[in-house]
């Protein structure tokens, strides 16, 4: 079968085709078979989507419902703030990480060649007709892509393909900044929100539906926020590249931390009613941070002073009594909590703050923890939006996302703790951790969900009640935590004994040994598994539909197909399912690609 024809030897494409697709009779057969299958299913899918029976307006009209269910309109600003935070961070990261790298014009043409070739191929292979079932049960072929439309797309894309094919080999010295190219791609994506028009259901001023459905841009109702967000993103892109050019090293640490914290901020924005009353901030929060900051500074500054060192024990005891007294007095909670922290600082600072740098670092940690504590306590004491008088208003993608992200965030430390506990040498801890892991893993997730929704209230003392979403969150954390624990244990076991010995030999204590040497290596080896399990928990979050929560899947399969106002969408299941599978695919695909890059970067030091 292998041909020695001149075309196959000299042309790189020809050689690739010969070596990879037609290297033997059986591989040639497989190539033809697979090619036929791919084309057949592609034509089927296109025929399904463009079938006039489909009512895609049922998806576009309900987009807001899909994303945030019944989130109150007056609080929408928080949703936009959250999206904005992610976009701004994205702009900053693109600016910071991609500046300085460049891509040649040929490389850009290569990409454009691929894109236009794919478009040409897709439109050429698309079916002309599709079958529609008539009222009397007969099947009739209906034209879905008129010949002139096909030619209108095929012609230009073929011309472009040919042009880029020759252009991609030209040697032009011009190099383009990768960052700017990426930003342009992103701009095109955002721009498509303005220019790509889709059929939407519109109501005129009297509430009557406009027929036929007008074609409006995707972002027709959300022009203003998207524009502001894109401008913000651009701004932060330039800030990012500026910081890169100025070589601000600390950014390479701050950006990952910011990405890590970003979901937490979004939680508190979307799910809490933040109490940003300037009155409280100025009269209570800032003075308390200032006062405790100064006290902390004094403690750190003079803690290793020798003349004070003599009285250390009486000072510690006195302060202990003082903080107990403060705790019993009817004061604001934040004051009590900070007093306890101050006691801790007093005890540890002589041991930690021995050098000038140590003191400086401890002081920074102290001030940052004061801010975080204030933020957390204010957040915890504010009203939640999870519960409203009419029940929960949460649902849609925001709920799916909450379950997935929170599940990961909470279950990871839990899983790490369980894994370390299971490998511990202390029998009590080991037995407890093993017990938790085995019990949680041996029962299906759905059973646990029913447990959370129905049985948990029976076990809790009378009067104590959690919101269903919170119960599910706690349960999810335990469930994925148990799985994480087993993955992490596998990683821990893959670390050679020599690493423990080396850590011991340089005098590390068990705590340092675990967290500086063993755990970082163990986590590195199990990143692919962890990514897989995060994706699983993202998809599994749809299961909450069966205990009565309105996640994105339930909205698609039971809410929208029952709508009759303002338009009848009854029975429109298929469109929703296609849309949802595409939606989930995009998210998991992007996530797994990102994590592959992350893996490569972390794998730098691997043998």
């Amino acid at each position: 079968m292998i041909s020695n024809n001149k075309f196959f030897i000299e042309n790189p494409y020809g050689r690739w085709v010969r070596d990879n697709l037609f290297s033997s009779s059986s591989s040639a057969f497989l190539t033809f078979f697979a090619g036929f299958m791919v084309i057949y299913s592609y034509r089927g899918i296109v025929g399904f989507i463009l079938n006039p029976e489909r009512m895609w307006t049922s998806v576009t009209y309900n987009m807001k419902l899909y994303m945030i269910l019944a989130y109150p309109d007056e609080a929408m600003i928080r949703v936009w703030l959250s999206v904005g935070l992610a976009l701004i961070l994205g702009g900053l990261s693109i600016g910071f990480y991609n500046s300085g790298k460049s891509i040649s014009l040929g490389g850009i043409f290569q990409k454009l060649f691929t894109i236009s070739a794919v478009i040409a191929l897709l439109i050429a292979l698309a079916p002309t007709n599709t079958n529609v079932i008539q009222n009397d049960g007969s099947i009739e072929a209906v034209e879905i892509i008129p010949q002139d439309v096909r030619m209108l797309i095929l012609g230009p894309s073929l011309v472009l393909t040919l042009a880029f094919f020759f252009l991609r080999n030209i040697k032009i010295k011009n190099l383009f900044n990768t960052a700017k190219v990426n930003l342009t791609y992103f701009g095109l994506i955002i721009g498509s929100l303005y220019f790509i028009k889709i059929p939407t259901i519109s109501l005129d001023s009297s509430g009557e539906r406009i027929i036929p459905d007008p074609f409006l841009p995707i972002a027709s109702t959300t022009y203003i926020p998207w524009t502001i967000l894109y401008v913000g993103m651009l701004l932060f892109f330039f800030i990012g590249s500026l910081l890169k050019n100025k070589d601000v090293k600390i950014m390479s640490r701050l950006i990952p931390i910011a990405w890590f914290l970003c979901p937490l901020f979004i939680f508190s924005w979307i799910f809490k009613k933040p109490l940003v009353e300037l009155n409280t901030v100025f009269s209570a929060d800032i003075p308390s941070i200032l006062v405790f900051g100064i006290i902390g500074f004094l403690i750190i500054r003079f803690s290793d002073n020798e003349s004070i060192g003599v009285y250390r024990t009486p000072i510690n005891i006195g302060f202990f009594i003082l903080s107990v007294v403060v705790f019993l007095l009817p004061l604001v909670f934040i004051f009590k909590a900070t007093m306890v922290l101050l006691l801790l600082l007093l005890v540890v600072s002589p041991a930690i703050a021995t050098t000038k740098e140590g003191k400086r670092q401890l002081f920074i940690v102290w001030v940052v923890s004061l801010f975080v504590l204030t933020f957390l306590i204010r957040g915890a004491s504010s009203d939640t939006m999870l519960v409203t008088p009419t029940g929960s208003i949460f649902g849609g993608f925001s709920l799916t996302w909450l379950l997935a992200i929170f599940g990961t965030y909470a279950s990871f430390p839990l899983g790490l703790a369980l894994a370390l506990g299971r490998t511990s040498t202390l029998p009590v801890i080991r037995i407890i951790c093993t017990g938790i892991i085995e019990i949680v893993r041996s029962v299906p997730y759905i059973t646990w969900l029913f447990f959370a929704s129905v049985m948990l209230t029976v076990f809790l003392p009378a009067g104590v009640e959690f919101n269903l979403i919170i119960r599910v969150l706690i349960l999810t954390a335990f469930f994925s935590g148990a799985y994480f624990a087993e993955y992490i244990r596998g990683g821990l076991q893959s670390i050679p004994k020599g690493q423990y010995e080396a850590a011991n030999a340089i005098g590390m204590n068990p705590f340092q040994r675990i967290f500086l040497v063993i755990v970082p290596q163990a986590l590195r080896t199990i990143i692919p598994t962890l990514v897989g399990s995060v994706i699983t928990s993202f998809k599994d979050s749809s299961l909450v539909a069966i205990i009565g929560l309105f996640d994105i899947l339930r909205i698609g399969t039971s809410v929208i197909p029952a709508q009759s106002q303002p338009v009848v969408f009854i029975g429109r299941n298929l469109e929703q399912l296609v849309f949802l599978s595409f939606f989930f695919w995009v998210f998991t695909f992007v996530f797994s690609r990102r994590s592959m890059k992350f893996e490569k970067r972390l794998g730098l030091g691997e043998r």
Binding site: T355, G498, E501, A505, I506, G507, Q512, P520, G605, R607
Partner: protein, 242 residues
């Protein structure tokens, strides 16, 4: 003044007795080479000195501290005793620089800048300052072993233990590691070296010991050890490896 003193140290692995009563002393600044056939207990013995293995009977005193189960004592000893392993055991997820500064920063609580300065000094001393930002996986075996020596030295130990430091290396890399060790010995470090490199023993050691089946069968000056051994077992051992 002896910095290490062991009295009748015995150690069992299950039913197998690896050490059958070792008593010895090492003076400050002394270089002691231990050799012997495999399975003779020589590695087990030096691993007992910083308690990577626990001895069951007898007594080991290092720098005036007796080794017991008290965790504080063990950590104190380990930060005074540096160890270099046969398989290097560098931390693969950290750069050479981070490998060396990890212990000074976290165990000795030194500042980062001070530790890095010290680490650069040590890397220059073992001859590979240009590799500081690389990962261990990118270095040759000889370079990795020299990093391991620098890592142990970064804790400013009083004693260095070498557990067959050249056994896992290609022949042409052995010399660079031995040179680093020689330089260390000349600077007055107390060293216990388990090795099969008889050339090194002859040239550098103050004393040579032969272990066999968990017992110390010969203890001698290098000249006497090689030219005029007291024990028949030593003669047999030397005739097999020289």
């Amino acid at each position: 003044m002896s910095i290490i003193k062991t009295v009748d140290v015995k150690k069992w692995f299950g039913d197998f007795q690896a050490l059958k009563g070792i008593s010895m002393e090492v003076a400050e600044g002394e270089v002691l080479v231990i050799c012997g056939p495999s399975g003779s207990g020589k590695s087990t013995f030096i691993r007992c000195i910083n308690r990577l293995e626990q001895h069951q009977e007898g007594e080991i005193v290092v720098d005036g501290i007796e080794l017991t189960n008290d965790l504080k004592n063990i950590e104190a000893i380990r930060s005074e005793v540096g160890m270099v392993f046969q398989s290097f055991n560098l931390f693969p997820h950290l750069t050479v620089m981070q490998n060396i500064t990890l212990a000074p920063i976290w165990v000795r609580k030194k500042s980062r800048s001070e530790s890095e300065e010290k680490a650069m000094e040590l890397l220059e001393r073992v001859g590979i300052p240009e590799q500081a930002q690389k990962f261990p996986g990118q270095l040759s075996g000889g370079q990795q072993q020299r990093v391991a020596i620098a890592r142990a030295l970064a804790m400013e130990p009083k004693i260095m233990l070498f557990d067959e430091p050249t056994s896992a290396l290609d022949p042409e890399m052995i010399k660079e590691v031995l040179d680093a060790m020689k330089e260390l010995a000349e600077s007055g470090m107390t060293m216990i070296v388990v090795t099969h490199e008889m050339g090194f023993a002859k040239e550098v050691a103050d004393r040579v010991m032969l272990f066999d089946e968990g017992l110390m069968v010969e203890e001698n000056t290098p000249n006497e050890f090689f030219d005029n051994p007291k024990n028949d077992r030593t003669k047999l051992f030397l005739s097999q490896i020289l």
